[in-house]
């Protein structure tokens, strides 16, 4: 899955709507007629767009010969799918049991107050979106959070401003973003 997401984020500015639809059509064509095609196609679609806009859902419904309501129903059921665009950096705070026990909620609160947004929201400058993850499977590193592909381990609420500030500069080089929480 991550492969597709990466692919999208490196060319998100460039691809036109037609190009995106063309790529979606390729996927639909590949899966047409296969059993259980809807969910994998939606996963790819989200990889292409970064989220699932209505136009993509309609295209999928049409291509797979499914009622739109069924497609929307499936999208609404799974937490992986999002129908709203996300910010440049997706922050996911793990609230699995281990992270919760080790203070994940305090980390979440610190981020909320720092960015002034609630879970499921995006900052006005579209720099950050905030989500809760139910478990990364990184329980050994609790509390954990991720920003984009970077996982931060044993995060302390007092460190949150420092971590976020590294993403504040738009040109922050990838190399500059190191795990400071360890």
């Amino acid at each position: 899955m991550s492969e597709e997401v990466k692919q999208c984020s490196c060319c998100e500015e460039e691809a036109s709507e037609e190009e995106l639809l063309a790529r979606l059509d390729e996927v639909i064509e590949e899966y047409q007629g296969k059993p259980g095609a809807l969910i994998p196609v939606l996963q790819y679609a989200q990889g292409i767009y970064g989220y699932l806009p209505e136009v993509a859902l309609k295209r999928v419904a049409l291509g797979l010969h499914k009622p739109y309501s069924e497609v929307a129903g499936v999208v609404g059921f799974y937490s992986y799918f999002s129908t709203v665009p996300r910010g440049k950096n997706l922050i996911r705070v793990c609230l699995g049991t281990a992270c919760y026990v080790r203070g994940g909620k305090q980390v979440l609160d610190a981020i909320k107050s720092r960015l002034g947004i609630d879970v499921g929201e995006t900052t006005e400058d579209r720099l950050f979106s905030l989500e809760i993850a139910r478990c990364f499977g990184a329980c050994g590193l609790a509390p954990a959070m991720s920003i984009g592909d970077e996982v931060f381990k044993r995060v302390r609420p007092a460190r949150v401003p420092e971590i976020l500030s590294r993403y504040n500069e738009v040109d922050a080089e990838k190399e500059g973003v190191v795990n400071v929480a360890g």
Partner: protein
């Protein structure tokens, strides 16, 4: 041949853990640095860097294991690479600095099989973790991979395969524990041209990561299990349903599937037989309910993952209506070894009904977080303490949570419970998929219940009302309790709702959803009651109930950030006033308080807790004459007769608060001086006597009268007080009787009880002292007695304690001080007899060596006699300080009061009221031996309780929090500042004098330390809005 080596095969392998945890800890950067360092020495061909899957010891990542030798490096950073190459690779000198150190002994442990975390494990499913390149099918084959499949395919009939798995006793590792062989048998017997075998890798339990680790480190083991299963049931297609959140696992599955196809292990006519089989991957899209087998199948079919009613069971009608078997990752990873090694091998570990091993994802408040594989039936305590290394930061084990949102918790009195499919349900937990989360005293069980309900509510698919509506209703109630709005009857409502949901929900998820809440109510009901009745969260989690965690932890509810921040502005008088508002004995507590506030200090998350007690010490030193607190004049109260029995910390505190409400209480003290244990038991090197007298004088000045030499039961009784017109009595006589050891030779000269000995010295200034003293016990009284004996001139002082040093109830700093002063600690020894010579004098103590056995009700390992012979500890004086008790009958003397277990007085924790309306009690005579500050808190509560009895209303004006008005910038990011140290009296003077051991601070040190406070109270005062 030139200088450059040209080795055809590498002479060394560096196994680098590339599990998710190590990657997050920077494994990739370490690999790059290592490769660069090897290049620099031109050794890139000599040494192979091999990426393995999760090693399991996630707490130590990034991990590098170097072969030959198997030297185990932990927490390797990119900058360490050069040293490893230059020293270990080139010169063969392993780098000790990076090796694992034993957490307590600090000894270096170079080989990973010797590390306690691994030593107790039984690696079967995880046998290849860290040993093979995770993406190499050849290395899997080199470790006997696919031999089981070849055997099943070429040498056995499908029925024989099913029989072998059935006979092995393997039970599903996903949670329910259904026999795997039986599942296969049903599916094999089902009619159908097309059958499916499915692998559940949708690890949904939010605290479990073992399936991810298995898939990352040994994907072929799972595939081989699926192939064997497919052969057994007659399936031609398989699906792995794996969470999309596991990109690395998905990547490795894909690579492994491709390798299998390349080698013809998947595809048509495998190994030239008529068996054809292939495996597809379905990516889960984040729905917990899809862990339920019918929901998972619905999801693969491309629909909303809602469960289907059973029957029909999947073995008859599963995926796309065809007979299907769904097994969990770990179950499948067991299969190949069962086929290869046989059922008897599989049964050689574990229990009769739960054979084999189980992997647990050990996390939470435990030192060694990571993946552990243990034989089933192992006591839970062994996983937490032996493998997990116990609880970090000296905190206390509270509970372990097993089975995630469907499971329950195991409190400390059940640590002996064998971890298997039968035993756990008996105590309200389940095995579950293997998430094992350890919780310490900082975890609030009500808040945890809310966490699980919140999760379930979020993940409920909504198909059936009991789950959808019922859990929502439960969540509302628990949320209310957490926010301090709980009502009487809430607990009963939750239990009733939970039972209904269990009986009526459609699928397994719904039926088990109430389990965590019911389990937390079952074992921690008192915590729920405290939340509802007292609006108090003992763990300091439910933030609506307090201003700051330190104050919340203080039994006397002192406004800690208030007085600390005032010290930070050098406003000492105001600081002291804030302190005495809730705790009059500031100077005493500055010396002897065990400071529960510091262990809850949020600053620990940044560097170290604020040294609150020492800030307090500096604050009280600035006071010349005690200032009187805010007091109310009340003529009516002044006329009411109130008696307090006992002038210890509880009695003094009660007198102080009653005086603030205008009462003129009379305090009766049995001894010649007021102070109770403060003066009788606590030595002056810890608490200088003038400090004590100063604060007692303050309370007298406020209007309390202290009458010394008047003992309850000797000079008066409760009844005679009533007859004398006292309207209320507060009984605070402590627990002054020393317990007997109960061994031969105890009666006679030379044997003293600890409290008696301390009291004699502290009140008279002398006490009989021999040359060789043996103190029996491990509490604070034992340490006080030993250190006093040393100062009285004893040449050799030994403390004999039957448990370990870490288990001593005495405060660690006291034990350390005793150790430093030359007192010998003999731990794990139990006295069996006090041996006397011909003249009847003490000659020594005959002891038996103890070893730690199973866990007792307090969650500590029980000492049991060792096989080894007993031995003598020479002594001419024995001081027994093994416990204290209350002679409750002597207290009551005709006035019947209820008592609690242990023979103490029963009193309402909120008001101190006993079963007799006009009698109140608090301090050690209610709780048993406890702390000074707990007694102070109890005295305050009783004062309020007495006032309420006499006036019908609560007038405790000091309980209203007032803003301290100190400067604080909430936007300033705190920077790391070490905690200020405390100087101590030189050792040679400590051993011979009773001078105070701890020395004070200079003003600038105290002010700087006070400013380390993070002001958790900021913005929480009512006046600030």
């Amino acid at each position: 041949m030139g200088e450059k080596s040209a080795m055809s095969i590498p002479r060394m392998h560096m196994m680098m853990c590339f599990g998710t945890a190590c990657i997050s800890s920077g494994a990739e950067r370490v690999r790059e640095a290592m490769a660069a360092a090897l290049d620099e020495h031109d050794m890139q061909d000599e040494v192979a860097i091999i990426e393995t899957g999760c090693n399991g010891f996630c707490a130590g990542g990034p991990i590098v294991v170097v072969y030959p030798g198997g030297v185990f490096y932990t927490k390797v950073q990119p900058e360490d690479a050069a040293e490893i190459v230059a020293e270990h690779v080139v010169k063969g000198r392993p780098v000790e600095r990076l090796m694992y150190r034993h957490p307590t002994t600090k000894a270096i442990i170079p080989l990973y099989e010797d590390i306690p975390f691994f030593a107790r494990q039984e690696l079967r499913v995880l046998r290849n973790k860290g040993r093979i390149a995770a993406e190499s099918i050849e290395e899997y084959i080199a470790r006997d991979g696919y031999q089981g499949f070849a055997k099943a395919l070429l040498e056995m009939t499908p029925d024989e395969v099913v029989e072998e798995v059935l006979a092995s006793g393997l039970r599903g590792r996903g949670g329910a524990g259904f026999p795997t062989g039986l599942k296969w048998k049903f599916c094999r017997a089902a009619e159908g041209d097309q059958k499916y075998i499915l692998c559940n890798a949708d690890e949904g339990d939010p605290g479990a990561f073992m399936d991810r680790s298995v898939l990352e480190s040994d994907p072929h083991a799972v595939l081989e299990g699926m192939m064997i299963g497919a052969r057994a049931i007659g399936a031609s297609e398989g699906y792995i349903y794996c969470r999309a959140e596991y990109p690395l696992a998905l990547e490795r599955i894909d690579a492994a599937l491709n390798d299998c196809r390349r080698y013809g292990l998947l595809g048509e006519n495998i190994m030239d037989t008529d068996f054809s089989f292939d495996i597809h991957v379905a990516r889960g899209s984040g729905a917990f309910v899809c862990g339920e087998e019918t929901a998972l199948m619905t999801s693969i079919e491309g629909h909303r993952g809602e469960p289907r009613p059973r029957p029909p069971f999947p073995a008859q009608k599963g995926l796309w209506g065809k007979p299907s078997v769904l097994n969990n990752v770990e179950t499948l990873a067991n299969i190949a070894q069962i086929l290869r090694n046989g059922k008897d091998w599989f049964r050689s570990v574990g229990t009769e009904k739960s054979p084999g091993t189980k992997i647990f994802a050990l996390s939470g408040a435990v030192n060694n977080v990571g993946l552990v594989e243990v034989p089933l039936g192992i006591p839970l305590g062994d996983i937490v303490f032996d493998i997990g290394g116990g609880i970090p930061n000296g905190k206390e084990y509270k509970a372990a949570q097993l089975g995630g949102p469907s499971g329950g918790c195991v409190p400390k009195d059940h640590l002996n419970t064998p971890v298997d499919f039968e035993s756990l349900p008996e105590i309200g937990a389940i095995m579950g998929s293997g998430g094992l989360i350890v919780m310490d005293e900082d975890t609030c069980m009500v808040d945890m219940a809310r966490f699980f309900l919140d999760f379930i509510q979020d993940e409920s698919c909504g198909k059936c009302p009991p789950c959808r509506v019922g859990t929502k209703r439960m969540l509302e109630i628990v949320t209310r309790i957490c926010e301090g709005e709980g009502e009487e009857g809430d607990i009963e409502r939750l239990v009733a709702l939970g039972e209904t949901i269990k009986e009526t929900a459609l699928c397994g998820l719904g039926q088990t959803a109430p389990n965590p809440v019911l389990s937390m109510i079952r074992y921690f009901r008192h915590e729920w009651e405290e939340h509802i009745r007292d609006r108090h969260c003992v763990a300091g989690v439910c933030a609506n109930m307090f201003m700051a965690r330190c104050s919340n932890a203080c039994p006397a509810s002192v406004n800690v950030p208030g007085f600390v921040s005032l010290v930070g502005e050098a406003r000492y008088d105001e600081a002291l006033r804030v302190h005495r508002n809730r705790n009059p004995l500031a100077s005493i507590c500055a010396r002897v308080c065990f400071h529960p506030c510091e262990s809850k200090c949020q600053r620990a998350g940044l560097d170290a807790p604020v040294a609150i007690r020492h800030v307090k010490r500096f604050m009280v030193e600035q006071e010349e004459e005690p200032l009187l607190p805010e007091m109310q004049v009340d003529e009516a109260n002044a006329q009411r007769k109130v008696a307090i029995v006992g002038a210890g910390p509880a009695g003094l505190s009660c007198a102080f608060f009653l005086a603030r409400l205008g009462y003129k209480p009379v305090v009766f003290e049995a001894e010649g001086k007021a102070g109770g244990m403060l003066i009788q038991a606590i030595p002056s090197y810890r608490l200088p006597r003038n400090e004590l007298e100063r604060e007692i004088a303050m309370i007298e000045k406020m209007g309390a009268t202290i009458e010394c030499g008047k003992a309850l039961g000797r000079d008066f009784t409760l009844k005679s007080l009533k007859d004398d017109g006292y309207e209320a009595v507060f009984v605070a006589v402590g627990a002054p009787k020393g317990s007997r050891i109960g061994i031969p030779g105890e009666d006679g000269p030379g044997v003293y009880d600890g409290l008696g000995f301390l009291k004699e010295y502290n009140l008279t200034g002398t006490a009989p002292m021999g040359r060789k003293v043996a103190v029996i016990g491990g509490g604070n009284a034992a340490i006080d007695a030993a250190r006093t004996a040393l100062r009285l001139g004893a040449e050799e002082v030994r403390i004999l304690y039957r448990r370990t040093r870490a288990q001593m109830p005495a405060w660690a700093e006291e034990v350390d001080a005793a150790d430093l002063e030359g007192i010998q600690l003999f731990t794990l020894v139990a006295p069996e007899e006090i041996v006397r010579d011909g003249d009847g004098n003490v000659a020594g103590v005959r002891c038996r060596k103890m070893v730690l056995g199973d866990y007792d009700r307090s969650g500590r390992r029980r000492p049991v006699a060792d096989e080894a012979a007993d031995f003598m500890v020479e002594a001419d004086t024995v001081i027994a300080a093994i416990g204290q008790w209350l002679d409750a009958d002597a207290v009551m003397d005709g006035t019947k009061l209820d008592t609690s277990r242990g023979g103490y007085l029963a009193a309402d924790p909120t008001t101190g009221r006993t079963s007799e309306e006009w009698v109140f009690a608090g301090g050690d005579d209610v709780t048993g031996p406890a702390s000074v500050v707990a007694a102070i808190g109890a005295g305050e509560k009783a004062a309020v309780g007495i006032d309420e009895l006499l006036t019908g209303a609560n007038h405790a004006f000091w309980r209203r929090e007032v803003d301290v008005q100190t400067a604080f910038d909430p936007d300033a990011d705190p920077s790391e500042t070490p905690r200020a140290e405390v100087d101590e009296l030189p050792l040679e003077r400590r051993r011979t004098t009773f001078d105070e051991v701890e020395l004070g601070w200079a003003a600038e040190v105290a002010v700087a330390e006070a400013r380390r406070c993070l002001r958790c109270d900021y913005g929480k005062y009512c006046s600030q809005g």
